[in-house]
């Protein structure tokens, strides 16, 4: 893959992750609490990890949070800090999964889990642990469920891509 191809692919992945994140906020929630999200924007981030490396994946993930906050006016607010910490812990979990060399399914679940853990550390710190504690069973359940879903979609895309090459 040449330099231009690489640049445009990464840019597309970033744009897609922002778009997916936005779509999730406008769709009516079918979950017990509308604060829970499927995490569709994790698909391009997973693809970045498997098509390139952890660095590119982290770049897409962090820039997604910053650009989304700039687009919707939450830059430097509490919500921004929550989302950024989620992204950072998620990257940490991705790095561990990558080092351990586990499957895309486990990588995706741990990334999803990392995202939630990061967010809830900030929430528990600012709003008190009782608020976060209430959601812990749901975090675990939904991380498993939606981590599997996003891994499935990402794996499908990677497979189709391989067939074409």
């Amino acid at each position: 893959m040449n330099k231009t191809q690489r640049l445009t692919t990464i840019a597309s992945l970033l744009a897609l992750s922002i778009l997916f994140g936005w779509i999730e906020t406008i769709l009516p929630s079918f979950l017990p609490n509308p604060a829970f999200k499927i995490g569709l924007s994790q698909i391009p981030i997973l693809l970045a990890l498997y098509l390139y490396d952890l660095k590119v994946s982290a770049f897409v993930s962090i820039l997604k949070v910053i650009l989304t906050s700039l687009l919707f006016g939450s830059f430097m607010t509490f919500l921004f800090v929550v989302n950024l910490t989620g992204a950072l812990v998620s990257i940490l979990f991705l790095a561990i999964a990558k080092k351990a060399g586990v499957t895309i399914l486990l990588t995706s679940i741990s990334s999803s889990l990392g995202h939630n853990i990061g967010q809830f550390i900030v929430i528990a710190y600012v709003l008190g642990p009782s608020v976060a504690g209430f959601y812990i069973p749901f975090i675990l359940l939904f991380s498993l469920l939606f981590g599997t879903l996003t891994a499935g979609i990402a794996a499908l895309i990677l497979e189709k891509r391989k067939e074409r090459q």
Binding site: P32, N33, P34, F78, V126, G128, V131, P137
Partner: protein
Amino acid sequence: MVFYKGDLTSDKVTISIGRILYREVPVDQDQIIEVANDDGTHLLTVLIQNGSVEVVESTCKDHICMDSGPIKHEGQTLVCLPNQVVITLVSTDLKGPDGILR
């Protein structure tokens, strides 16, 4: 949220901003509470009616706090992350043990 300790009806509503308690009111008294922060900026409006609590208006953009309600069981919460407001249904008679086996 459908996750609560038993089918307990609560008798108190606590509203906090950050970790600081803003207001504590009985749930059986219908009322409207305007929540504002220290410098008087309006954040959101809470409605208590027929033992259930909901956020009817908020200055936040995502409105997750409004979509999460109404709540009526002990332990349930309404959280507005952008405004850092937490509304919890608590029960005063839960201070002791849940049950004693003899």
